[in-house]
Amino acid sequence: MSWNGLTPMAKIEVVVDGDLVAAVRDLFLEAGATGYTGLSGVSGFGHHGQHQARLLFNDRASLSMLITVVPKDKVDGLVAGIRRLLEDRHGVFFVSETHVSRPDYFS
C-alpha cells in the first residue's frame, strides 16, 4: 500500500537489557541500517515480571528500546541476527510495516 507517495519500509523495534544495546546497534549497522533511535529507561511488565524505568544512578539496569527502519530486503538478515542474540537472553522485538517520505535516508 502506498500512502500519498510514501514509500513502504520495515520498522524493527527491539527491547533488550541495557548491556545488549551495543550488540543490537552493531546488528543494525551490519544489516545495512543507516541509522537508529535509542530510548533508554524503558519500563513495563511482561514475561519476566516488572521492569522499572530510569533509575537515578544506574543507566544500565533498565531496559532500552532500539528502533530502526530498513528496506524490506534487509529484514531477513536483521531478524536472523536478533533471533540468535535473544536465544539465551531476555528481550523482545517487533517487525511492522511503516512508510517514509525520504526513502533515500534509509537505503
Binding site: Q50, Q52, L56, F57, N58, A61, A80, R83, R84, L85
Partner: protein
C-alpha cells in the same frame, strides 16, 4: 575473497555477543574499575555461572577444599555452620534417611559433613583446551596474537604507534601480517598464502577463518568462547571498548570482532601450515568417575568401617552421590558465609535507639567504602560528631575538568553516563598564569624525558646526559622516600597554586556547571538519599583518594563511586551546590529546612596515610572556622588511630604505615578494600560504637524519610551494585589469582596504559594483583559473596527487588545475600530465593553475640 558487496553477517555478530558473556569488560589503567569477572553471566544463578567459567576459562571459582578446611581448623567455620549449609544448598538432604553403621544411625547430613571434612578434593581445574592435535599450536598462536594486541593498543600515547591503526585492529594487522616472521615460520607458505586472500572487513575475515577451521553455525558460540577463554584479558579490554568507552575516547578502536578475527585467522593459517586438523569445538572434560569411590572410602575410614562392608559402603555411596563434586565447595562457601553473617547480625542484634534529636555541631559524610568505617569510628570517639555514609561521588554525576586541563574525566560510578561538566576555576583574586606556566614547563620536560626514553637511539644519550643526576635520585627515592616527597613539595611551592573553586553555576560560566533547576534536583537527591533532615552548623563531605607511587593499579585504590578517581572534586562540587543560596531557596520550596548557618565543607581522606585534607578552606566563613579547625584536629587524631589499627594488619614496619604511599618500591601501599564482606543500609545508630574491622560498606538510610522508597531503590540499584562488583572482584582475585587476578606484582609490565602483562608478554592480566589479597601464602581477604543488611520495611525492600531485574537476578541468583528488618526493635530476617523472609537464627544455639567480632580469623 573480494567484499565490495559485503555479505551480511548479523548471525555471526549475534554469536560474538553471546560468547562474550564469559569475559568481563576491563577498564584501562587510568581508571581501574572493579568489575565482577563473571558479570556477563549474572543473569544466571551463581553456581551455573561458576560452572561456565570453569568450563570456558579453566578457572577456579571457589576456594579449594584445603583452604576451607584450614578455615575450619581456625574456627572460622564450625560444624554447625556446615550442617546448616548442607541443608541450605539442598533441602532434601534434611529428610534423607540415614544409614546404620556400627550400631548407630548416621544422618545423611552427617555423612556429607564428614565427606566435606575428610573427602578427597576434585581435580584441580578444568580446561577449555580439548587437548586435540590442533590445540598444540594454540599457545604459540595466543602468544603471537597477544603481541599484536600489545603493539596496537594505546591509552598512553606511545611513542611508536602501530601503522594503519586508525583502520582498526584487524585491518592494521592484515596490512602487516605478511611481514611477521614468527607467523611465517608457524604458518608456512600455505598458511601465508591463505592469509593474503582474507576479506577486508573483520567480520568477514572471522567468518572465513571459522569456515576454514570447520566450525559450523551450531558450534560457533562454543568455538568463540574457546577463543575468548584463551585471551580473556585482551577480550575484556575489547569489551570495554565496545560497550563502555566514553564517546570521546581518542584511543585506537580495539573491538572484539577484530580480536576474534585476528585470533581465528592466525589459528587457521597456522593450522593450514602445520597440516593440523581444524580445531573441534571444546568438549566438556570427562567426569572423574573414581572420585565418588574415593569419597566413599574416606567417609568409611572416618566412620571406622571397612569400605568392603557392602551395606555400609552402598548406603554411604547413595548419600554422597546426591552431592555432586561442584556442590561440595558450594556447601563450604555457604557455611563460611553463614558464619560471617551470624557474627555480623549478632553484632547488630541490639535495640536501635534511633537518631538523637539534639542538633549536632558537626556532621561528617564519608564514602560508603569499607575504609571509611574505621575513620568514622575513630572520629566519633574523638568528640560529638555525627557521621553518615554516602556514595563518594556525593550524588553529582559529572565530568571534572581540573584547572588548565583540556581532558575532563568522569567522576561518578561507571553505571552512570555524566551529562554535566564542572571545571575547576581560579579564584578571581588569584592569578593562575605563573602556576600554569610552571606546570606546563614541568609537563613538557616530563614528556620530553619519556619520549627520549622511548626513542630508538635517544635512551643512550639520555643516560649519558642525565645518569649522574637520576642515579642518586633513584637511590634517594628508595632509601629516603620522605626526603624526596618533601623536596617535591618544596619544588611545587615555588609556583604557588592559586585558590580555586568548582564552577557549578552554568549561568555564571557557560562552559561549566549545571542550571539552577538541575542543581536543586541534585541537592534534593543528596539530602533525600541520605535521609538528612537535621543539619549541623558544619557538614563535612569527605571523599577519598589513595596517594601511592609507581603503581600501575594506583587508581584501583581510589574511589570506586567516582569511577576509579580521587573523590575530592566530587566533594567540592557537592559542597558548592549545597552552599549555593539559590539552591537553598529551591530546597526550602521542596520542604527542606536547611538552616542559614549550616555550611558544607569539602574534604579528602588519603587512605594510605589516613590523613584528611580540608579543601577550599579559604571559603569557610569566619563564623565556622573554629568548628572546621576542630574537625581538622580531631580527624587527624582519628587518622592516627586508624593508621595504627591498620598497621597491625599490614606487613612491614608499623611506624612507617602512614608513609607507605611515598615508597616507590612498596608493593602493598594499603589493603584497599580487602576483607570487605557486607553492606549495611540504615541509620548510623544500627552500627554505632561497633568495631566492624573495616569490612563493611555503610550507607545511611532513614526509612521514615523515604515513604515512597525512591531513596532505597537508588541505594539498592546503584551503590549496592557497585559494591557487589568490588566484592566479586576481591572474591575471584582471591580464589584464582592466576585466572581472575593480575598475578604477582613483581612481574608486572604495563602495556600502552591499558593494563599489565606478566613478564614480556602474553594476555592482559585482569583483576587484583596477588599482593592485594595475600601475604605470602596467607589469604588476607576472605572470599565471600556480599551480604546486604537493610533496615527498612521488608515489603518495601521486597517490592524494590521484584521491580528491578538487575537486583532480582543478583539476589535470586545468589550473587548477593540479603538480611533485613523493618524497624530497629525487630529481629533480623533472611531473604530466601523465592522472595520469602524467615527469621534469622545463628547456626549454633550457643552463639554468644556479646563476644562476636568481625575480625578476619
Amino acid at each position: 575473497m573480494d567484499d565490495h558487496a559485503p555479505r551480511r553477517h548479523t548471525d555471526l555478530l549475534a554469536d560474538i555477543a553471546r560468547a562474550a558473556s564469559i569475559v568481563a569488560p576491563q577498564w584501562p589503567l587510568t581508571n581501574v574499575v572493579a568489575v565482577n569477572p563473571l558479570g556477563g553471566l549474572q543473569h544466571l544463578p551463581f553456581e551455573e555461572a561458576a560452572a561456565l567459567a570453569r568450563r570456558w576459562l579453566g578457572a577456579r571459582t571457589h576456594p579449594t577444599l584445603a583452604a576451607f578446611r584450614a578455615a575450619y581448623d581456625r574456627g572460622a567455620i564450625t560444624d554447625a555452620d556446615l550442617r546448616r549449609a548442607i541443608v541450605d544448598v539442598d533441602w532434601r538432604l534434611a529428610t534423607r534417611p540415614g544409614i546404620e553403621a556400627g550400631g548407630t544411625t548416621l544422618a545423611a547430613v552427617e555423612l556429607i559433613r564428614i565427606d566435606l571434612l575428610a573427602g578427597p578434593d576434585e581435580p584441580d581445574r578444568q580446561s577449555s583446551d580439548p587437548g586435540t592435535q590442533a590445540s598444540s599450536i594454540l599457545p604459540a598462536v595466543d602468544e603471537l596474537v597477544a603481541g599484536w594486541c600489545a603493539a596496537f593498543v594505546d591509552e598512553a600515547h606511545v611513542p611508536w604507534p602501530m601503522p594503519h591503526r586508525d583502520e582498526g585492529f584487524y585491518a592494521a594487522w592484515r596490512h602487516l601480517a605478511s611481514s611477521d616472521r614468527r607467523l611465517r615460520r608457524l604458518a608456512g607458505r600455505r598458511g601465508m598464502r591463505w592469509l593474503t586472500d582474507l576479506p577486508v572487513r573483520a567480520v568477514g575475515g572471522l567468518a572465513v577463518a571459522l569456515d576454514t577451521l570447520g566450525t559450523g553455525p551450531e558450534a560457533r558460540v562454543d568455538a568463540l568462547r574457546g577463543q575468548l577463554g584463551r585471551l580473556p584479558g585482551w577480550a575484556g579490554y575489547a569489551r570495554w571498548h565496545d560497550e563502555w568507552a566514553p564517546f570521546d575516547h581518542d584511543g585506537p578502536a580495539f573491538r572484539l570482532v577484530d580480536l576474534l578475527a585476528v585470533q581465528a585467522a592466525v589459528t587457521a593459517a597456522v593450522a593450514l601450515g602445520n597440516g593440523a586438523r581444524p580445531s573441534p569445538p571444546p568438549a566438556q572434560p570427562a567426569p572423574d568417575d573414581d572420585l565418588l569411590g574415593r569419597r566413599v572410602a574416606a567417609v568409611c575410614s572416618v566412620l571406622g568401617v571397612s569400605s568392603d562392608d557392602a551395606d555400609v559402603a552402598r548406603g554411604v555411596r547413595e548419600v554422597l552421590a546426591l552431592v555432586p563434586p561442584a556442590a561440595r565447595p558450594a556447601m563450604w562457601l555457604e557455611a563460611h558465609e553463614g558464619n560471617v553473617r551470624d557474627r555480623l547480625l549478632g553484632l547488630l542484634t541490639r535495640l536501635d535507639p534511633g537518631p538523637t534529636t539534639e542538633r549536632p555541631q558537626v556532621q561528617a559524610v564519608f564514602c560508603i567504602d569499607v575504609r571509611s568505617e574505621g575513620l568514622r569510628r575513630h572520629l566519633e570517639a574523638c568528640g560529638s560528631y555525627e557521621t553518615l555514609g554516602f556514595a563518594g561521588f556525593f550524588g553529582v554525576p559529572m565530568r571534572w575538568r581540573p584547572m588548565g586541563s583540556t581532558a575532563p574525566q568522569a567522576r561518578c560510578p561507571v553505571l552512570v553516563t555524566p551529562d554535566h561538566e564542572v571545571a575547576e576555576r581560579p579564584q578571581a583574586a588569584d592569578d593562575p598564569r605563573r602556576f600554569l606556566a610552571t606546570r606546563r614547563t614541568n609537563r613538557s620536560a616530563s614528556d620530553a624525558f619519556h619520549a627520549a626514553k622511548g626513542g630508538l637511539g635517544s635512551p643512550f644519550v639520555l643516560a649519558e646526559a642525565s645518569g649522574w643526576l637520576l642515579g642518586p635520585l633513584a637511590a634517594l627515592r628508595t632509601l629516603a622516600p620522605d626526603v624526596t616527597r618533601q623536596a617535591g613539595r618544596w619544588g611545587r611551592s615555588l609556583a604557588r597554586a592559586p585558590r580555586t573553586f568548582a564552577a557549578v553555576d552554568a549561568a555564571a560560566d557557560p562552559a561549566s556547571g549545571l542550571a539552577l533547576e538541575e542543581r536543586i534536583l541534585f541537592a534534593e537527591a543528596i539530602l533525600t538519599t541520605l535521609g538528612l533532615r537535621r543539619f549541623g552548623r558544619v557538614v563535612v563531605l569527605c571523599g577519598h583518594a589513595s596517594a601511592n607511587r609507581n603503581n600501575p593499579h594506583a587508581s584501583a585504590y581510589d574511589c570506586g563511586a567516582c569511577g576509579g578517581a580521587p573523590g575530592g572534586a566530587s566533594a567540592r562540587t557537592a559542597a558548592a551546590i549545597l552552599n549555593d543560596l539559590d539552591v537553598r531557596a529551591g530546597l526550602a520550596e521542596r520542604g527542606f529546612d536547611l538552616p542559614d548557618d549550616t555550611w558544607f565543607v569539602a574534604a579528602e581522606h588519603d587512605t594510605v596515610s589516613d590523613r584528611v585534607t580540608v579543601l577550599d578552606r579559604g571559603t569557610v566563613p569566619a563564623s565556622h572556622d573554629t568548628l572546621v579547625a576542630g574537625f581538622a584536629r580531631d580527624v587527624e587524631a582519628a587518622g592516627e588511630r586508624l593508621a595504627q589499627e591498620r598497621a597491625r594488619r599490614l606487613p612491614g614496619d608499623p611506624a612507617r604505615v602512614r608513609a607507605r604511599g611515598q615508597d616507590w618500591a612498596q608493593i602493598r601501599p594499603e589493603w584497599g578494600l580487602a576483607g570487605n564482606a557486607a553492606f549495611v543500609i540504615g541509620p548510623r545508630s544500627v552500627t554505632q560504637h561497633l568495631d566492624l574491622a573495616c569490612r563493611v560498606f555503610l550507607h545511611s538510610y532513614e526509612a521514615e524519610a523515604d515513604p515512597d522508597g525512591v531513596a532505597l531503590e537508588t541505594i539498592l540499584t546503584a551503590p549496592l551494585v557497585v559494591a557487589q562488583w568490588i566484592s566479586a572482584q576481591y572474591y575471584f582475585s582471591t580464589v584464582d589469582p592466576d585466572r581472575f587476578g593480575a598475578g604477582d606484582k613483581l612481574l608486572h609490565n604495563p602495556v600502552g596504559g591499558v593494563g599489565v602483562v606478566l613478564g614480556e608478554g602474553g594476555d592482559l592480566r585482569v583483576g587484583l594483583p596477588l599482593q592485594a589479597v595475600t601475604v605470602g601464602d596467607r589469604q588476607v581477604h576472605e572470599p565471600l559473596r556480599l551480604l546486604a543488611v537493610v533496615q527498612a520495611p521488608l515489603e518495601r525492600t521486597e517490592t524494590i527487588i521484584q521491580s528491578n531485574r538487575v537486583l532480582r537476578e543478583l539476589v535470586d541468583g545468589g550473587w548477593i545475600r540479603i538480611a533485613g528488618r523493618s524497624h530497629g526493635d525487630e529481629p533480623w530476617s533472611l531473604r530466601g530465593s523465592a522472595g520469602t523472609w524467615a527469621s534469622w537464627r545463628p547456626a549454633d544455639d550457643r552463639f554468644d553475640q556479646a563476644v562476636a567480632s568481625l575480625e578476619v580469623s
